[in-house]
Amino acid sequence: MSETHASAQLIGRYVGGDTGIPGDELWALEAHLENCPICRGRLAEVVGEQTPDVTSMLSGIWSELEPLAVSAPEPVRRRRWVATWASPTLVPWLGMTALVMGLALLVDWADTTAGRPSLVQLLAPVAPLLGVAVSWARGLDPAYELTSATPRAGLYLVLRRTIAVLVVVIPLLLLVGWAAETSVALSLLPCLAFTSATLALGGVIGVSRAAIVLASAWVVLVVGPVLAGSMIPLVLDPAGLPLWGAAFVLGVVTVVARSEAYTRLGSHR
């Protein structure tokens, strides 16, 4: 679309059917009109002014057609932007996550044995996994095959849906962590590391399988021993934070490198 537009006079002559317009000028005008909505708008105005018979015919046709149209396209509702971020099936699963974290908080408040690690802190790393699994899962997302065949499928949509999960889960963890008086960094960094690891592993074995594998590994290897022996391993100590950071970065790098895997059916298990 060039910066120069056709003059009003030229458009007027064109609409009037002036045969005196030189061929090259006519050709240039028509080529310009094809691509310039501004000049087409002006052309429409001139048609309205100069040729009332055309206008009256068109408005006659419109008034005849309008009662026949079943319904006009409805305006896009506001609710849509939420659907473009969160997976449409996410809400109940986030509710369940909030419920589990709330129960963990109640247990922490009720049980005040000295030296016992906080249950909120123990569960915080795996809190987002339920939401992440739902975002890209064959069994839990009914439209998985439709979704994975669309252009938006792939890393872009996976990350968008993961962000929607984290936007809810992180404030929840902050709130619950604050109420249980645990370390904020020790809740959030492991939570991010587990999220990225789930997506990375999910590219190979499917996201929901990856979430199940990682959550069970965490429960069996850390939560169980800690609750049984009441000792705090390195993974729950502030000294372990660099390890969590490294795991998070490694997960992100793997996800980006293998981004193509998310456009196939395999990542949907």
Partner: protein
């Protein structure tokens, strides 16, 4: 477009650009795995505009072939070109998928969405530009004859209507390649007639691939037929050639069914007359 506001629309250059490929779908020796099994083994295709029927018994590899064409399964071997572009590149794939419409065999949907919301959501996933979505959705709904139920929730629809909503989401982005896996399942006879009409209409400028096991549907709506069995192509030709392949001695109630069973029996002699 109401009242005194007039719209003058010009055809833009992209709409009249000549195509730079000979076939919308071209495959050579295509092999695709479903799990560990080689479900499609050495299929050659060259499909242009028109309605192409994909026939075969259950487990013949129809769904796997359609999934490979929809680019959700990566071919295990051979060549696959869609709209002149070789399937595989990342950015290329995104551009390509914008021009593909796909209806899976059993497609899920979100029960709480209305028909319009569901198709709007699919249009968004297919990167239809934001300002075009309402009109494109309405057009798709009207083409498939669901306008009166557009604002009802999906869970209140009957099976045939859900199938039609599925077809509407497949055509909402005006695809150049339309892949329909068992689209006529669950439609009543009147709807099936209307659906065939729509197929013929779409086939005038779109490459439509319809997989079906309803042999009669193929005869009525398809410009050509491909018969596959155990992942291998058995027959390729027009519906009348398929009819001609069968003799009076073959199983079936109509000429086209007899042709179908005759060709399958020839391919798999040990199966006899199934």
């Amino acid at each position: 477009m109401k009242g005194d506001e007039q719209v003058i629309r010009a055809v833009n250059a992209a709409e009249v650009a000549p195509t730079t490929y000979a076939w919308e779908i071209r495959a050579e020796g295509l092999r695709v795995k479903a799990g560990r099994r080689m479900a499609v083994d050495g299929v050659d295709l060259s499909l242009g505009a028109g309605v192409h029927g994909l026939l075969g018994p259950n487990g013949a590899g129809k769904t796997t072939l359609i999934r490979a064409l929809a680019t959700v399964l990566r071919p295990a071997g051979g060549e696959l070109e869609l709209l002149g572009a070789s399937v595989g590149g990342r950015t290329e794939q995104r551009r390509l998928r914008r021009q593909i419409g796909y209806l899976p065999q059993d497609f899920g949907f979100y029960k709480r969405f209305t028909v319009r919301e569901f198709i709007e959501y699919m249009a968004w996933l297919k990167e239809v530009s934001k300002k075009d979505i309402p009109a494109a959705v309405q057009r798709a709904i009207e083409r498939i004859g669901l306008a009166d139920r557009a604002d009802d929730r999906m869970k209140t629809l009957s099976g045939g209507m859900i199938r039609r909503a599925g077809i509407a989401q497949a055509i909402v982005n005006d695809p150049r390649i339309l892949l329909l896996d068992e689209p006529a399942a669950g439609l009543d006879p009147a709807q099936r007639l209307r659906f065939r009409e729509l197929l013929r209409e779409l086939g005038s400028d779109t490459c439509v691939v319809v997989s079906t096991h309803l042999v009669e549907d193929v005869a009525m709506a398809c410009t050509d037929v491909m018969l596959i069995d155990e992942g291998k192509p058995v027959f390729r030709g027009t519906p009348s050639e398929l009819e001609a392949a069968g003799g009076a001695g073959d199983a079936g109630d109509s000429p086209i069914e007899r042709g179908y069973t005759a060709l399958l029996a020839r391919h798999q002699p040990d199966r006899g007359s199934r």
